[in-house]
Symmetry: C2
Subunit: 286 residues, 2 copies
């Protein structure tokens, strides 16, 4: 009779037993990822000495996150965001030469077909908020201008809401637009100073944040996607430097290099701008 | 100005940054568990060098598990089961003196109010299957009989289905019953030889098992919960020794010590039993 006891459960080598069960035809990358996650999961359960009641609370919590998800709400992405996992995955996959603009989280409020504008246009369609001029250049790592680059910008208004969160209150496509850099790599547009805002916190992730003594606020920011042929796509923000949540962004999206110098404009500017931001993006080659 | 850069995201110490965000009022045990899980989760993501696409597939998978859950289906428990986590949690919480009966998974088919029977009763209500006599004693670690112990048994029939899975096909409460040990600690009942059966595999967990080259079958078994005043509750199985899935139970429920000697009865027994199992349970004190 074959000795099969090696295959029976043994708490001391539980992860190895589970992983040994995978068949020979398993996709090698799936095998690798599963092996790593099962090993760390078992190590965590063992280190925490999770009780049966705690395990059940965990099961119920993970279930509730899944059940909160809908076509317009991805609570698992939110969970990943507040655990810093989204930022970690991004960092692992976007290591760029020194001086390149860094990535940060995409967030759920990007809209695929924002209006295209000429440089100098105002993306604030309702005139609310403190007018802000954002301008700069897009260059490569050697400082050479990148012309024809696409600058996709979107942001919350001065109350901390995106247009898609306030249909009927904000005009559609408010505070969104796509610009194209000129021959010298320059871009520019008018907008408003954004305000911080909470991530959706009426679900299980919000409950967890409360239990952990964490607030749900994201530091005030503008979103950007920069794309240009031959360069790596950049998904990033610029942050205002005086936001009270800068050092405690709920999804860990802030990086030192993404904090912009948003400064008061001289008084009575002809264009009415109260704030100025000069901001250059540096693209890394593919 | 305060240096707040320590709080910004840094892929090299991402878990520490996330964990440092917890407030001072956080429940100490929650803090401990979260700290451990966040650390292992980040370590796993980093070790696997998870790509953005893989991360998204993970998000979608975890979401689908949650959305499969309903009042009568707990897909996250199933996920925990097939990853060996349920068995690990049980093992961590039920370490007993040498010689005590070991625990295994509870499973989803226990029913709270099964009928109470006198020893010697037959729990097979439809007469189908190969009749089996199960009998033995319940003792403490010193071999002293435990009288008045409750022996709650439930099992699948010879087609691998529980009564609750086949309403209208099997009589209600088929192959379930609660017995009480006699003064000498003995119990006994008639039943049928159980068959192996698949865990529900029409959801995301079943899909994962298929991708991993794993079948969904549980080795054939009878479930027991043994309870007696002054002793630790035992949630366990006994397994038939010749089941083809004994060494590859889908939820890792098999332990060497739980494999019973299910033997053929002598021919033409007066009680009609074709199979005999002698099985003693040993209870550990509270």
């Amino acid at each position: 009779m074959i000795d099969t006891t090696a295959a029976y459960f043994d708490a001391g080598r539980s992860a190895a037993i589970v992983n040994a069960r995978m068949g020979p035809e398993t996709d090698p990358r799936l095998r690798e990822v599963m092996t790593i996650f099962v090993r760390h999961l078992h190590a965590a359960v063992r280190e925490a000495r999770l009780t049966g009641e705690e395990w059940m609370r965990g099961i119920e919590f993970l279930t509730a996150i899944g059940q909160m998800c809908s076509d317009w709400r991805q609570e698992y992405v939110l969970f990943s965001d507040v655990l810093g996992v989204s930022m970690l995955v991004d960092a692992l996959n976007h290591q760029r030469p020194e001086g390149s603009t860094e990535n940060t989280v995409l967030g759920p409020f990007h809209v695929a077909k924002a209006p295209r504008y000429a440089n100098g246009a105002n993306i604030c369609l309702d005139g609310k908020g403190e007018k802000m001029l954002v301008r700069g250049r897009i260059t490569d790592n050697a400082g050479r201008p990148v012309s024809g680059a696409s600058v996709d910008v979107w942001q919350a208004n001065d109350n901390g809401f995106y247009d898609v969160q306030q249909p009927g209150v904000q005009p559609a496509m408010n505070l969104r637009g796509i610009f194209t850099t000129d021959a010298d790599g320059s871009y520019g547009f008018y907008s408003v100073r954004p305000r911080f805002y909470p991530i959706p916190d009426d679900g299980p992730v919000g409950k967890l944040l409360a239990m952990l003594g964490r607030h749900p606020n994201r530091a005030a920011h503008l979103h950007f996607i920069i794309e240009a042929k031959g360069y790596e796509r950049v998904v990033t923000h610029i942050f205002t430097p005086d936001c009270p949540y800068l050092a405690e962004d709920a999804v860990f999206g802030v990086k030192q290099s993404l904090i912009a110098d948003v400064r008061r404009a001289e008084e009575n500017r002809e264009d009415g701008a109260l704030w100025l931001v000069d901001w250059d993006f540096v693209l890394a080659p593919h």
